[in-house]
Symmetry: C2
Subunit: 385 residues, 2 copies
């Protein structure tokens, strides 16, 4: 096991009716920015629950945080916070709204152009406003970590930031608030969570027995719960297990002391940028091919994955690995996520274009052993045609 430091200070209120906890969490005189996306939280009753819990506190609302939250949108929220001297940021929504809230929290008192927060990956950020979040979509884990990704469409950039300063002070996670999400968003949450676990697990053995077992436990839970929660969206037990899986996948505990990969995310982000494919769908396209191309360097972990996650005990090593990769792809297909570029009308020629973009950006090596390259990326995407 590699040395590590683990610290996750976020207080999580999980369960039905927990939005009421906002009343205990916010000071009575708190001046709050409520940050939100579209109007879905008006339709599904979440906004009403939030307002009831907040009572007479001073709340300014800022609407319109988009998927892949945009710098120019969020800077308007920053201006509102500065103008009204607000003290707390309350995102109500999914990962994009939460990520946006973290940027706003860090930008308000930042002395220079806030875009520099992302350019420098926050090395000179020394404070952030406190965040209390209400999560309504299981996927990104943003409710319990210190990471965010911000886009700036005006200059075609998308950058990320990680800092202990922007962990939410608390997050409310009520699985019932996700009942009204469309099946596509739930499927994306499942596919995203599955890959988040794999990026921290399917690498090479590092004598980290507990971390491996925890990762395998989330993967098995997703496999069990995916068909149930897609078929029966208001089944609380199934949805609660999905939502808690998504939080546990990225709150840190499975990734301490182990090598991490994030190769599928690196490649997938390019497909989203070039073709607008949903993030989770890019992972369904890319990850099985990463495993296939890297089956030699990941041999030991692929065999462990085959045995412990998919119960594959028979046949040769190579046959079990073949079956595990096939089952991974079939899992994505089973939740409605297509795994071939042609399913999204993307030509095979995009493989070379992605490789070119990575090279142009200076991404020469990446992945668990830092030996994936733009050339290998082209192979991976050609295999995914």
């Amino acid at each position: 096991m590699e040395n590590f430091t683990f610290h996750n200070p976020t207080r999580l209120h999980f369960g039905q009716g927990q939005i009421a906890q906002l009343d205990k969490e916010f000071p009575a005189n708190a001046r709050i920015l409520l940050l939100a996306g579209g109007g879905s939280i008006k339709q599904n009753g979440v906004l009403a629950q939030v307002k009831q819990a907040l009572g007479n506190r001073l709340v300014h609302e800022f609407w319109g945080v988009e998927a892949n939250p945009d710098y120019d949108t969020l800077m308007k929220a920053v201006e509102l916070v500065r103008r009204e001297k607000l003290e707390w940021i309350l995102p109500v929504g999914g990962g994009s709204v939460l990520d946006g809230a973290k940027f706003v929290a860090a930008a308000v008192n930042y002395p220079r152009d806030p875009w520099q927060i992302l350019v420098t990956n926050g090395t000179d950020v020394t404070s952030a406003l406190p965040i209390g979040a209400v999560l309504t979509l299981p996927a990104t884990g943003s409710e319990a970590n210190g990471a965010f990704v911000i886009s700036r469409r005006a200059i075609k950039e998308k950058l990320h930031f990680i800092s202990p300063l922007v962990y939410p002070r608390f997050s409310v996670i009520d699985p019932a608030t996700t009942f009204s999400l469309p099946p596509r968003q739930i499927a994306n949450g499942i596919g995203d969570t599955f890959c988040h676990v794999m990026e921290q697990y399917l690498t090479y053995p590092a004598d980290a027995a507990v971390q491996d077992r925890f990762a395998e436990g989330i993967l098995r839970t997703l496999i069990e719960v995916a068909p149930k929660t897609l078929a029966d969206p208001t089944n609380y037990a199934a949805r609660a297990n999905l939502v808690w899986s998504a939080t546990c996948a990225l709150q840190g505990i499975i990734g301490v002391g182990v090598p991490q990969d994030w190769a599928s995310h690196t490649i997938g982000h390019e497909l989203t940028a070039l073709h607008g494919i949903d993030h989770a769908c890019t992972l369904g396209i890319v990850m099985p091919q990463v495993l296939q191309l890297e089956r030699t360097t990941r041999h030991a972990k692929l065999l462990q994955y085959a045995e412990r996650v998919w119960d594959l005990h028979d046949g040769s090593d190579e046959a079990r690995i073949d079956a595990a990769i096939a089952k991974t792809r079939a899992f994505y297909e089973s939740i409605g996520i297509k795994t071939r570029l042609q399913d999204y009308n993307v030509p095979a020629s995009t493989a070379a274009e992605v490789a070119r973009r990575l090279t142009a950006r200076g991404v020469h090596t990446f992945g668990d052993r830092n030996h994936l390259t733009p050339a290998k990326t082209e192979q991976i995407l050609r295999a995914a045609a």
Copy 2:
């Protein structure tokens, strides 16, 4: 899944050489109480590492915190902290030293007789000094939770306390510091950890898929790693997995949203009080018999445990449950923890005495369904004769 709030703010520095982190964690002008037990940390080099990391900081040492730390001992440490106006508590040792540190931290500024902290279970404790810990014995999880148990031999009492105020600000966990522990202490740490997980897992199904998988993952890790780390105490990989298992077992993540039991602990504490049997040994005696007596109410979870932890797939339900309970007992025996009262020269008549003591103390019902009783306790202990 039941509703829950999860919050664990402790920063954990895990791995070889991490004691050096003390220099970053303590303010340069910190006034520190170093709290310790006997002299083992002098022999194994831990104290030297701690002192090197602390550099020129003002440190007062307090030695002699005993196993099952005693109120009268700790009150002397409280006096020292008050007299020297110390600001931080630095326990260096196992669970007893860490538990003692938490009491000292809470007692220093407590306005009344500090024993009342335990009598009232801390309901009127409003502050505590910050704690930074160095753990040297894997077992209790005290390095990453807000609980402690204090004895007061003068009046034959032993009380516990739980408060978010006494979570360590940080803990250093270097598995190499445990290499020199005697095998009996390592075996006790394994047996204690195994039971900590079982108390949060082997109850009744609560639709908590991730928590179950995490609990099973720790149990399987213990089963795999126990013979290795006992046979080869300086094997870092095996020891690191044991130590991280012990922390994960009681830092909260496996126990959220699920029913908990703690019946074996309730009964086992009496055997320690009456006969001085090591805590972990009492659990090895009691737990298999609790499972046996409660096999009907815990039927579903026992079958799950048989399948997922012990790979028992064949035979009738009852046969698999029999085998799982037998394997549990054999596991304790395999690490050198005897599981019969007669192994400790304790007569069967102690069963009635324990039942009498529970009744006298008003413990009429306990356990996951709150339906264990003193009478059932007598049955359990008679079966353990």
